[in-house]
Homo-oligomer: 219 residues x 2
Amino acid sequence: MVTLSEENYLKAIYHLSNHGSISVSTNAIAEKMETKASSVTDMIKKLADKNFVNYIKYHGASLTELGRLTAVLVIRKHRLWEMFLVSKLNFSWDEVHNVAEQLEHIKSEKLINELDAFLEFPTHDPHGDPIPDKNGNINTLDKVPLSTLQENQGSKLLSVKDSSDEFLRFLNKRNISIGDTINVLNIEPYDKSVQIRVNSKEMTITENVAENLYVKNVK
Amino acid sequence: MVTLSEENYLKAIYHLSNHGSISVSTNAIAEKMETKASSVTDMIKKLADKNFVNYIKYHGASLTELGRLTAVLVIRKHRLWEMFLVSKLNFSWDEVHNVAEQLEHIKSEKLINELDAFLEFPTHDPHGDPIPDKNGNINTLDKVPLSTLQENQGSKLLSVKDSSDEFLRFLNKRNISIGDTINVLNIEPYDKSVQIRVNSKEMTITENVAENLYVKNVK
DNA sequence: ACATATTTTTACTTAAAGGTAAATATTTTT
DNA sequence: AAAAATATTTACCTTTAAGTAAAAATATGT
């Protein structure tokens, strides 16, 4: 028994904590949720009471196994609904988020498992993120677009989405190759361009380029 | 801008008021919503402030045109989602209600209109109830199963769903014909059997029979 | 038509979820 | 290591939705 608001907090903590592996600060959650730190403190206490998080006063919260599972199952719903919207209802990738944020809270196991089957068990959502299975397993080592990483995240280039000659030539000129380690230094809020370091050289790439680079996360 | 709770009240009032045509008492709403009369009074005031209902103290509430439209658009969503669940996700008619009650509150015009198109513009939901169009028009004179009527509702028999020899013979034996006026006197909660008066004769029919009789509402 | 029964409203509580401002811890700087 | 800056918590307020109990209005029965 978990409320809509609790689900949103768990999701935020999951995303901020590198899939539930590390502890997250009150302020970081407040910023992500666009609310105030005092509200976050209250909610963390509630989540701790329900055994969704471990909480040490003044030292942030980390997900319990129950919390991680709950968060991942919400993310599963979010990504399956995104898939449905794009593949069946003519939504474009940038229109889905708002609606999927609502749909992810619908409570019905049958619904989500039937939807999964109806979509023929997709493994990735329209943004390239992996879809957790019904037991909460998710391939976090999977490739994701570089554009989905957060600041200070390290990664390794696995493949490209756009495999046109032009794009490969562009990468060549910048000395970027499959297998390279790419660190995200900074994301410009205005145009979502990404400052990266690759092969100890710093450079800035556009959002479009970042979307076409599939990487795997490195701690 | 209408809350989930307000939408549920508007829907209840719509169903209780013969499609918005008559005024509904506080107690009737409380019973339908499974809440207390005092809560209903509070909510009616809020709905009146927002111009969804006309409210005269101690004399119930009736839907304004805005209230009727809002209620009908929620019902449109409910019925389209029911259709989706049954025709695409292998739900049976008795499993859909709970989930559709949640889905009907998702806010996105594009979503519901694309869903409508995806389902190829169905005119009736799996229970035979008409689906309102995007402008809130609904064919209330349309045929509905006798089983969807409420107590003390009058109706006229339009057609049958089950057109087997056995069923038609059964109707014959009871002296029931197309065009007859059928009044619902009482619905037995235990087995949903319906006590009716037809041709000034009273009789009881099973839920199954009531589901197979299409009638139109008569005031 | 009046006494009684029923319905409806009012005033006061409660539980979520969020916000403000002040108090307290922790971290950083010098 | 003390002062300053930052982060977190606490105490208290607000709103929404629902509940309780008493008061007020309406409806009913004789």
